[in-house]
């Protein structure tokens, strides 16, 4: 996936010279995850450059750049270090178009490697998607596969509103044979990754792989035929696709790494419970990280939802 993201940045920069990429260590070093590898060398230091360590500064200057007609694509080095930029994001990035009565849209992308599972120290494994998704005016995207990573990042850069682009960092090493460019699914479309009939598993970002793994195992272990839906665009969400799937199977659960309480899964569960009310044979369940600060490396695997936890929840769904 890292390669797909790198290619998406490069291709976007080649196609549109208003695209500029910046952030901490993205220039010479190519980013701590090498997502911007080679961009400065190819495009020049005007198009791809390092910043001082100042996340509010990164987001805030991107606003000014977008205002002036560039398309800044900025990186927050880690999820936990996107928080100093929250004031700029909530107060301005999200509100600028509305505040100016539609006169000023901000075409900009904030890329954030997020989530756990890589044995990192604290503050490096956060799942902040709910903060962003709850903020009206933001578009929140998170790819689950390399192809989507490429296509959705390109679509996000071409988008005329600000996009929070959440990269599932534990899936950076995920491989997929790709013939680039991959065609972009429009922002705002979910996809059924695996059709099934027993129950619907809704996932996004890092949990897409986990959900598919659970579905594969379920066939052999229990004979269940799970449908897996990849949300892809967290906000605005493609609720129709989700409702259709949940209505079809009559049972649904939503998976994410983030803590459960007031998490993204709550929205999905609440909305499906309302819109698919007559179709649901069981409540919509949530399979999530626990309501604790992200734990240290030696025990993080017990925090993270895995195929077992998903399958346990499917069993509970089927008990209703």
């Amino acid at each position: 996936m890292a390669g797909a993201l790198n290619a998406a940045l490069r291709d976007s920069m080649r196609d549109d010279d208003t695209v500029v990429v910046y952030g901490e260590d993205v220039g010479r070093l190519g980013g701590v995850f090498r997502i911007t590898d080679g961009l400065q060398a190819e495009m020049g230091a005007d198009r791809c450059f390092d910043t001082p360590v100042a996340e509010a500064g990164i987001a805030g200057t991107a606003i000014g750049m977008a205002l002036y007609g560039l398309r800044p694509v900025v990186e927050m080095q880690f999820d936990g270090f996107s928080y100093p930029a929250l004031n700029q994001v909530i107060s301005h990035v999200a509100k600028y178009r509305n505040r100016t009565r539609g006169r000023v849209g901000l075409p900009m992308v904030i890329r954030i490697p997020y989530g756990g599972g890589i044995g990192a120290v604290e503050h490096h494994s956060e799942s902040p998607e709910a903060y962003y998704a709850h903020t009206a005016g933001l578009t929140v995207v998170s790819p689950g596969t390399p192809a989507d990573a490429y296509a959705l990042l390109r679509a996000s850069i071409a988008f005329d509103d600000p996009v929070i682009f959440l990269e599932p960092k534990r899936r950076y090493w995920l491989k997929e044979d790709l013939e680039l460019p991959v065609t972009a699914p429009p922002i705002g479309e979910a996809i059924v990754r695996r059709e099934g009939t027993t129950a619907t598993v809704i996932a996004y970002g890092p949990m897409v792989t986990t959900a598919l793994e659970a579905a594969t195992r379920a066939v052999g272990e229990s004979g269940w035929d799970l449908e897996v839906v990849d949300v892809r665009t967290l906000s605005p969400v493609d609720m129709d696709t989700l409702v259709a799937s949940a209505s079809k199977t009559g049972r649904a659960l939503v998976v994410h790494e983030a803590v459960r309480f007031v998490g993204y899964g709550a929205e999905i569960a609440a909305e499906l419970s309302e819109r698919a009310f007559g179709y649901l044979a069981a409540p919509v369940l949530r399979v999530t990280g626990f309501d604790v600060p992200y734990p240290s490396a030696k025990i993080e695997r017990h925090f993270l939802p895995d195929a077992d936890r998903i399958l346990d929840a499917v069993a509970r769904l089927l008990e209703y």
Binding site: A56, T61, N87, P236
Partner: protein, 374 residues
């Protein structure tokens, strides 16, 4: 370890007149010492001097009218610039047409002087829309309330202009209080790193709501922040419009030349309360304000202009009439200004309405129809 900096007030007017050519201010050297008064040439024609005065006088009138409209309920609140006209108008007067301005809620008169229609400008306070004007039309960003945040927007715009090789300058205002925010520091430092063509004008008006300058920072001058990030800083008498203009002009020229950012501290005073909702009697004495009233920037400039024979009674009458007309316009368009269709709130969240917003719009539509029927 405190260095006391004398800000000459009466003494820092133009030094010769009508061959007006010098203003006094203090440079902050890169290594941070406040330098001694350093006269720079200011070269303004009589026409320009009259324009400058006209803008200040109109500003004063607009400000007074806005306060009255607030008392009468047409504006929900207003943050007066009374006493800060020289700092604001002198600054924006140094900009060229293509330059950009990033004001806060305080800079209504600077923004007015920059050319934004006064009725559109006051939308924030009348509550008809957050930003009532088109930023692209005027090259002015919305009046911003989250303190210091807009400084970063100005830096970003300036960085973009530099990348595009456009010879424009971004000017942003912020206050002595806002200078304590982290964003102010990040903006100053990043501007320095990128040599961004941006000018930071800090209006040090002595207060952040009720908090006096001495409780805001131990620094004797906000201009010293420039030293900390390796950019030039200038401290200037903010009630002397020529000094302000000269300092900001120097900074604007430097930025346009490609020599990077400057921080200009304009020392002034907020004669009115923080906003119309504030009560100064809780935290400062009338005496203090009286002292500053004696240094009224509009009166002071007028005195100099009269002395130099630059203005006559006919001109002043004209300006006054224009002020009255502007005030009348404000009354006409801000009193009982229509609220607009509330359904518009769904239209500008994104470039296109989302499915969820359509649902919510339909709900509001239904509510509005039901209310109409009642």
């Amino acid at each position: 370890m405190n260095v006391s900096v004398e800000v000459s007030s009466a003494a820092s007017g133009p030094s010769s007149f009508p061959g007006l050519s010098k203003a006094a201010w203090q440079d902050v050297a890169a290594e941070g010492a406040l330098g001694t008064a350093n006269p720079h040439a200011v070269d303004l024609s009589a026409d320009q001097l009259r324009s400058l005065y006209r803008l200040m006088a109109l500003s004063r009138r607009v400000d007074r009218q806005a306060i009255n409209l607030t008392r009468q309920g047409a504006l929900g609140v207003f943050a007066s610039s009374h006493g800060q006209e020289a700092a604001q108008v002198g600054s924006v007067f140094a900009l060229e047409a293509d330059d950009w301005l990033f004001p806060t809620y305080r800079e209504t008169v600077g923004t007015f002087a920059r050319g934004v229609d006064v009725v559109e400008l006051l939308a924030l306070f009348s509550g008809s829309w957050h930003c009532g004007f088109d930023p692209y039309k005027y090259r002015v960003a919305p009046l911003t309330t989250p303190l210091a945040t807009q400084a970063l927007h100005a830096v970003g715009l300036a960085m973009a202009a530099k990348i595009k090789h456009d010879p424009i300058v971004a000017l942003t205002f912020f206050g002595d209080g806002a200078a304590s925010e982290g964003d102010a520091h990040e903006a100053l430092n990043m501007a320095g790193v990128y040599g961004a063509p941006v000018v930071f004008v800090v209006q040090n008006n002595g207060y952040a709501i009720s908090v006096p300058y001495r409780l805001q920072t131990r620094a004797s001058s906000i201009a010293l922040r420039a030293a900390g990030v390796g950019i030039p800083g200038i401290r200037v008498d903010g009630n002397d419009v020529i000094s302000v203009y000269g300092a900001v002009r120097t900074a604007v020229d430097r930025a346009r030349r490609g020599d990077g950012p400057t921080l200009v501290e304009a020392v002034t005073y907020r004669l009115e309360a923080h906003t119309t909702a504030d009560d100064t009697s809780r935290y400062r004495s009338d005496d203090e304000a009286s002292e500053w009233r004696a240094r009224d920037p509009v009166e002071r400039f007028l005195g100099v202009l009269r002395e130099g024979g630059v203005v006559d009674d006919a001109f002043l009458a004209e300006v006054e009439a224009e002020g009255e007309a502007t005030a009348a316009r404000m009354r006409d368009f801000l009193f009982d200004a229509p609220a607009g269709d509330p359904r518009e709130m769904f239209d500008h969240v994104y470039a296109a309405r989302t499915p969820q917003l359509e649902i919510e719009r339909a709900l509001l539509d239904q509510e509005l129809r039901a209310a109409d029927e009642r």
